[in-house]
């Protein structure tokens, strides 16, 4: 069913590309996050065409499900960021996209002009359970066990790191924070947390007005 495959490919490609361009072009970061969701789901579709079912599912669940949600939370917390119009680095606005385009052109030349024969084919005939969770799981736990374990440790470290970085305590990491900044930011932290707690009142429903101004 080659036709279906082509249509599906182009649909996914357009979705991915559109989402990507929207991510970099939209002013409001919240909208950029939403554009990313579109991009990710389109990619999941492309993965399906490539017979990577487990990965498509993982993409939707992990990426579009968890990671994007994280982004949404932080975007909501942080709020809108004003990006000034003027550019402090001379020429960055023009050279940046130019270089990216140059990169794309080079990669395309490399891909299109290559002598690698296999690129023009569709690939060998693959077994039916190619890319199935069973196959992936078997590979993970047999051949790539160390990678599996290492990835787990990495996740653990990342989680601990995030808690350490974002947690409230006196003067972590920043020397510029210093003693002068401490009582202020500690008070500010406590103030914020308390106001957050205030928002989620003991009766379980977020109150409209916080007891003190955040």
């Amino acid at each position: 069913m080659r036709g279906v495959e082509e249509v599906a490919f182009f649909a996914g490609a357009i979705g991915a590309l559109g989402g990507a361009i929207a991510v970099i072009a939209l002013r409001n970061p919240f909208y950029s996050v939403l554009a990313l969701v579109v991009h990710l789901v389109s990619l999941a579709g492309l993965f399906l065409i490539l017979h990577a079912e487990f990965l498509a599912a993982a993409q939707v669940v992990v990426y579009a499900g968890a990671i994007v949600v994280l982004y949404v939370f932080v975007a909501a917390y942080v709020g809108g960021i004003e990006e000034p119009l003027w550019e402090p680095i001379p020429g960055q606005r023009f050279i940046g996209p130019l270089l990216a385009a140059a990169l794309f052109v080079e990669l395309s030349i490399a891909v299109l002009g290559t002598a690698l024969a296999g690129l023009d084919t569709e690939g060998p005939t693959i077994p039916l359970d190619f890319g199935s969770p069973a196959a992936i799981g078997e590979l993970f736990l047999e051949r790539f066990l160390i990678a599996f374990e290492a990835a787990s440790i990495l996740l653990l470290i990342a989680a601990v790191g995030a808690v350490v970085l974002a947690g409230k305590r006196a003067a972590p990491g920043g020397a510029g924070g210093g003693p002068a900044g401490d009582p202020h930011e500690a008070a500010g932290d406590r103030g914020e947390t308390q106001s957050q707690l205030g928002r989620v009142a003991p009766d379980g429903a977020p109150t409209g007005a916080p007891p003190e101004a955040a």
Partner: protein, 99 residues
């Protein structure tokens, strides 16, 4: 679809992400563009896995996803920490490491 299409698409997505990193100033959006680049890489990996009939590429892509997740977690933690300390969320303002 033969492999070339996927690779060109992957290159295009990668270049888009790179352009985004270079022109956006909000750290949050820069992280998003990093996600774009990582996903482009994943796409290329999976395309090659399909072309070789080998699932190792999919394993690789899965691990890349894990790494991307960790990186996002830490990056967002940084942004939250920056916000907490009332630092301007603008990478151009963070330039005390100048030579």
């Amino acid at each position: 679809m033969d492999l070339t299409w996927y690779l060109v698409l992957s290159a295009l997505l990668f270049a888009t992400g790179a352009a985004g990193v270079l022109i956006r100033r909000s750290p949050l959006v820069i992280l998003l563009c990093l996600e774009l680049m990582l996903n482009a890489g994943n796409l290329a990996l999976l395309a090659f896995a399909r072309a070789n009939g080998d699932e190792d590429g999919q394993i690789f892509a899965l691990v890349v996803m894990v790494v991307a997740a960790c990186e996002v977690v830490v990056g967002l933690g940084l942004i939250v920490a920056m916000y907490r300390r009332r630092l301007p969320l603008n990478v151009d303002e963070m330039r005390s490491l100048r030579g």
